[in-house]
Symmetry: C2
Subunit: 313 residues, 2 copies
Amino acid sequence: MKKYGFGVDIGGTTCKIGLFETTGQLVEKWEIPTDTCEGGKNILPDIASSLQGKMAERKIGKEELEGIGIGLPGPVQPDGSVPLCVNLGWKNMNIPEKMGELMAGIPVKAGNDANVAALGEMWQGGGKGCKSLVMVTLGTGVGGGIIIDEKIVSGAHGAGGEIGHITVNPHESLPCNCGRKGCLEQYCSATGIARLAREALAGEHGSSLLDSAEEISAKTVFDAYKEKDKLAGEIVDKFARILGRTLSNIACVADPEVFVIGGGVSKAGEVLVQAVEKYFKESAFPSCADTKFALASLGNDAGMYGCVRLVLE
Amino acid sequence: MKKYGFGVDIGGTTCKIGLFETTGQLVEKWEIPTDTCEGGKNILPDIASSLQGKMAERKIGKEELEGIGIGLPGPVQPDGSVPLCVNLGWKNMNIPEKMGELMAGIPVKAGNDANVAALGEMWQGGGKGCKSLVMVTLGTGVGGGIIIDEKIVSGAHGAGGEIGHITVNPHESLPCNCGRKGCLEQYCSATGIARLAREALAGEHGSSLLDSAEEISAKTVFDAYKEKDKLAGEIVDKFARILGRTLSNIACVADPEVFVIGGGVSKAGEVLVQAVEKYFKESAFPSCADTKFALASLGNDAGMYGCVRLVLE
């Protein structure tokens, strides 16, 4: 194993770049803007010149680099090609090939951003020491990533780990962003929790949440929950019941060693994990009732970590 | 690759044994009784002497054997050890070690019976040509097996692919065999379908199913369905809705290339697959709506096939 690797997590606005030792130690991280103009044709060249600049600055030779891992917001084929990535403007882009040319043949691998984040949490985060995990990212939506035997489960159609779109309520009347109705993320994302709260507040009196009803959010709900507000307790209970039961069903499919909970909503911390774990245990198939739960610990860096881990395979 | 392999599917009553060419061709199959007395101590020696007899009979030398694969009705650890197998009377049995001793060091691998059946269907059955699949076995219960990247997903607690115990109805009042309530197999197994039928028949007039109400079964339901019986249509529709929706949720986790439907109930044939596929398409996450469906084609031999495939890895 060579000494260094680069992890590059490409987002629609910025690219997060990290120089790592292949032991898992982050040496330095920085960001560059993502230039999505003209079909995103500058994105990889911009990244390449940033990496070359860093190599020159730190006097790191090509022969010291194990490889470059790249994460991006869209489906990635097993060979690292991207049929379509709307957020970056890419069509039919073969990343290892294109980036390899720009970087004098240094090995390059690519993966979906949610999946590499899961791999990063397995390598150096909340799932460290485990070989299989399901990552649940509670943000604006609900994302997911599944790792089995230390490998990402991308799926035959790029939908591996799309757990936010598991149908949990076939009777839902409002549509999800995906066009279907009753998806997990309609209840358990930040926006979903705010919605549960608004519904609970309709006609309610005596909750501290009423003071902030105008700008209610997952954060105000969990803050009130920590202060023992009764209504917040009911909202969190509903959220935890839906998520805990869904994870117990996922355990009957993938049966991971650990569920790692991340994303903005997870900043609520251990109280959130405990609430979800309680319902998980109640509804889990007996042999997996003791599946571990952990908070994600790498935050927005998880993707960079996972990108580096990709090139160590 | 050597020329031959043995596949041994151990059941509580008989062991199905197959001699295969490693190309996937079944050369000969036979059965021996499973002797579960005294903690099942004779099971592996009985199998070993049957295999040795066959090798002598056909003049197959040890050097022509790639290995021996063994399937059994219980959880198997990644190293092929079995902590507990109630049906066979085994406790803390390391199969590759024990069987390797009995067979002069020929390589031995072991796996759970439902999982090796899924692997067999991938290799030479309904999922031939695919690298990932979810097998759904509709029998007395509902079993499952998940293959990703040509490998079995056993799970961290042996519950990988236990899809019969996904909770589909949290409001169910009757218990499942697993002790929980509302599991998939309470509605979609042979017994589950018979139950749906009995419930539908209560107070009903004018269905041909009434003639056989005393001994109603999944088979009588599907037979009446093929004759366009209206009530049978409603029962099959309910079964297909529950199963199709559940498979669409599984697709958001494992996203296989194909769902392979097997087990006694699947003898109803293409009409069953079509009914389930219709609801799957309706409820699937858009990118996996075109996931293929196929009938299992190896029947009770699937386990033997998968056992041989295990030793080819």
